[in-house]
């Protein structure tokens, strides 16, 4: 782990996906990742909208959704942030084990959303670099 934090990618999960690839042909994993990147960006937009509308329920379900897809690819930082968002949206701070007021929840989600986006783009960049150097593939 870098800096004592978790790594960007959970290798166990990610390797499963790579294994699905044909030899020297990473079409599958690359296309999945592209799907994911597009999807994440779309979800971020939706999250922004929901945040403006103070729609906690939507934020929670969006968090849940993105949590699932990031987890499937092993993009774990994003996954964990999304899980937090899911809980915040339900007025719950699972890390602290406390409940939140809607205002607090929104505040936390607002901060978290910024963080998630950063994490996402970092992961995206990292993956693209990885594929480029390791497989010579453009994602």
């Amino acid at each position: 782990p870098q800096d004592g934090e978790e790594e960007i990618i959970d290798w166990e999960t990610f390797n499963q996906i790579l294994e699905m690839d044909e030899e020297d042909d990473h079409e599958f994993s690359i296309s999945i990742m592209q799907n994911y990147f597009e999807q994440a960006v779309a979800k971020f937009k939706e999250m922004d909208a929901a945040l403006c509308k103070k729609d906690l329920a939507s934020l929670s379900s969006l968090g849940h959704f993105l949590k699932g897809s990031s987890a499937a690819l092993g993009i774990q930082k994003v996954q964990h942030s999304c899980e937090r968002m899911q809980h915040y949206g339900k007025l719950r701070d699972e890390d602290a084990g406390t409940d939140l007021s809607p205002a607090d929840a929104l505040a936390k989600i607002s901060a978290l959303l910024a963080v998630v986006k950063v994490q996402h783009y970092a992961a995206e960049k990292w993956l693209k670099d990885y594929f480029k150097t390791k497989f010579g593939e453009e994602v």
């Binding site: 044909e22 999807q39 959704f65 699932g68 897809s69 690819l73």
Partner: protein
């Protein structure tokens, strides 16, 4: 007191010296009592006497003492027996001092007559007290005796209990051994039937050879022989095709194996001229040289492979031409080979039936056990072939032996529309090396073997990865319900790789609709979805479909939620994000009927009409990779203490766990147990427990139901 003659007129010994007499009660009370005792109460005195077991004596004949005299007697209270005084004790135990002092007092008061110099402290104990003491003593002794007896009895009972428990343990072991024997018997019969069938089907000398094998050989060798032959046939076929596909031979192992297989497969007639046999020669040469050092590619089990293979190569070298080398000499070799690997490495036992430990962990006993089946049942061949592919693809090319041609021919003869179920249990063993067949193979059974071989041939390198493909008699139809496209694509890919055909729904509504229209073998249902969530969808589906297993895929695994899933009709949980292994586990658990049924349908009539559970159990047992079938020699040593699967390195406890599961759980769970068991070190007991815990709720109904339905389907297909 009694000795004190001054009180003679009041108190003295009785005439016989065995009692004392209080001549004058009132005087006694006034003068003696205060002096000797704390109290001046005659009644208390009498009470004291009674306490010490003194008894008032009515002395009718002795009237010399007057009317108001009281005579008290105690066995230990004797004028001449000072020591007995000690025995006078209260009936309720008290200090001897008080007894002594009381006795002293009494004794003193009655001692005058005898004139014995008795000091108060050393008066002879009267007979009465000692009698009571004796009595007490006897009681104590009796109690001690009884106590001892009780202890002895308890010890005896403990012993008996221990014996009973031991007996039960032995009994259990014997039952286990019996099961093993049953497996043997069944597989033997299956093989016999198959052998007959095969003999009938084949119109070549092969047939006669086959029957020859069966008749002339004892079970083990026949087994191994037939299995080996089947294996080789398929291997040859694969390698031939791989070669045709232009694969380069890289693996010396393969070459040597080919060679060996060619020699071993001597029993098979070469119907077709060898193709490129010349090319195979240099390869063989290479292989020979490489064999000892060839790395078992694709994650083979052990370096043992090269060793055994080189050994085999050496053996085979005397038979450069594949045509039918005398079989008898082969068999001993095979047997030796089998035995050797068996004994050497329990973990790799499965390879046994394969001469030279060829498909080692592949052919594993599991595959081999299905071997007899696969050999004799058309479809079964195909599947085994499929499983062997990864390895074979490594060895690739060759396929130019005449024998190898024949297998292809034979295979087509026998290739049925289905993949042999027995091969399914193979996959656990093949964790290391199976490559993933391409998608199309799963959809067209008849073409898939070749399709697979080709695709595998082209993907041979992938063998290195631990791709793990269950073999299905018929590709399972899976409905995947998931709203997230990324997860959907991923799951689809996993499923395809597992050999399933996939249908997709993006929400609960779509799921219900699809279920209404078509029948699936399994449903993977996401929970959180738009329009209609997974739980509600399941409830709806359950209104018209009770059989299809519905598995919930969710990242929420709280117990109350899990209960919700089950109570709405779901059969199992697959937590997200799921792993390939998790998915495979689920598939195996809920789609075992797809393997079993096939086997059942192909089993000769005499064997098939058996209740699902027992037959499945026994069949599954037969496909058990363990040494039990592969190494009858080992079995014979089994005196109940060595579980049949010990060769796999499984402990007795694990084996008994398996048996318990076999006997207690549903067939599919049991199969999973067996299957899981065959995979390397699997923590099986817990796995089994998990699966039982998870799927017991509806597993049995579901499986049986599904089994019935699926069986019908299979009949039609065939």
């Amino acid at each position: 007191m009694l000795e004190d003659n001054t009180c003679e007129e009041i108190v003295s010994w009785g005439p016989a010296g065995d009692c004392f007499v209080v001549k004058d009660m009132t005087e006694f009370t006034k003068s003696v009592l205060p002096r000797m005792f704390k109290h001046s109460n005659f009644a208390s005195f009498v009470r004291q006497l009674n306490k010490y077991d003194f008894h008032k004596v009515k002395n009718t004949e002795d009237s010399s003492f007057g009317e108001h005299s009281w005579t008290f007697r105690h066995p230990d209270f004797r004028a001449d027996n000072r020591e007995a005084l000690e025995n006078i004790k209260r009936k309720v135990p008290t200090s001897r001092k008080s007894a002594g002092s009381a006795a002293n007092g009494r004794a003193g008061s009655s001692n005058q007559a005898s004139g014995d110099p008795n000091s108060p402290t050393s008066l002879p104990s009267p007979a009465a007290p000692s009698a009571s003491i004796n009595h007490l003593q006897m009681q104590i002794d009796a109690m001690v005796r009884v106590n001892d007896e009780l202890k002895a009895r308890v010890a005896e009972l403990e012993q008996n209990y221990q014996n009973v428990v031991d007996g039960m343990v032995h009994f259990q072991r014997d039952v286990a051994a019996q099961d093993g024997i049953m497996q043997n018997l069944i597989s033997y019969f299956v093989q016999l039937e198959g052998a007959k069938g095969k003999a009938a089907a084949l119109d070549e000398a092969q047939g006669s050879q086959g029957s020859q094998f069966v008749q002339s050989e004892d079970l083990p060798s026949a087994y191994n022989e037939s299995v080996a032959r089947a294996t080789f046939e398929q291997m040859n076929e694969i390698s031939r095709r791989a070669y045709a596909a232009g694969m380069q031979f890289r693996n010396g192992n393969g070459a040597s194996r080919e060679r060996k297989s060619g020699g071993e497969g001597g029993g098979l007639n070469a119907a077709e001229p060898p193709a490129a046999s010349t090319s195979s020669q240099p390869m063989m040469g290479n292989s020979r040289g490489e064999a000892p050092s060839s790395s078992v590619s694709g994650g083979f089990g052990a370096g043992r492979a090269p060793a055994s293979m080189s050994a085999i190569v050496a053996e085979q070298e005397q038979k450069p031409e594949p045509p039918q080398p005398p079989q008898p000499p082969q068999r001993p070799q095979q047997q030796q080979q089998q035995q050797a690997p068996m004994e050497e490495e329990p973990q790799e036992i499965p390879r046994m039936p394969n001469p030279g430990g060829f498909p080692q962990s592949f052919l594993a006993a599991t595959s081999l056990n299905p071997g007899p089946d696969s050999q004799h049942h058309a479809g079964l061949h195909v599947l085994t072939l499929g499983h062997l592919m990864p390895r074979d693809s490594l060895s690739s090319s060759e396929g130019d032996d005449p024998q190898w041609q024949f297998p292809a021919h034979q295979q087509q003869q026998m290739a049925g529309p289905s993949f042999a179920a027995p091969a399914v249990p193979l996959h656990p063993m093949q964790v290391q090396s199976l490559t993933t067949p391409s998608i199309e193979t799963s959809t067209s059974p008849t073409t898939s073997p070749s399709g697979r071989s080709r695709s595998i041939a082209s993907q041979h390198i992938r063998v290195r990865r631990s791709t793990f493909v269950p073999g299905w008699a018929v590709p399972p139809r899976v409905l995947l319900v998931e709203d997230d496209v990324v997860s959907r694509r991923l799951s689809s890919k996993f499923l395809q790789v597992s050999g399933c055909t996939i249908d997709v729904a993006v929400d609960g509504v779509g799921a219900v609709n699809k279920m209404n229209l078509e029948k699936y073998d399994l449903v993977l249902m996401d929970i959180v979805m738009p329009k209609l969530d997974g739980v509600t969808a399941t409830s709806l589906i359950r209104q018209f479909d009770h059989r299809t297993p519905i598995i919930s895929m969710t990242s929420n695994s709280k117990p109350n939620e899990i209960m919700t899933y089950y109570s709405h009709g779901m059969n199992d949980i697959l937590p997200k994000p799921f792993t390939k292994e998790g998915l495979f586990t689920i598939l195996e658990k809920h789609l075992t009927h797809l393997k079993q049924i096939q086997q059942l349908s192909r089993v000769p009539r005499s064997l098939s009409p058996m209740p699902d559970g027992s037959m499945d159990n026994s069949l599954a047992l037969t496909v058990n990779p363990s040494s039990s079938l592969a190494a009858p020699g080992l079995m014979s040593e089994d005196d109940g203490k060595l579980n049949p699967l010990a060769g796999l390195g499984m402990s007795d406890e694990q084996y008994s766990n398996i048996l318990q599961n076999l006997l207690g759980a549903t067939g599919e769970i049991m199969e999973e147990a067996i299957i899981m068991d065959t995979s390397t070190e699997v923590v099986m007991p817990s796995e089994i427990n998990n699966s039982i815990g998870l799927s017991n709720k509806r597993g049995l109904d579901n499986v049986d139901d599904v089994r019935e339905g699926k069986r019908g389907r299979f009949e039609v297909i065939e």
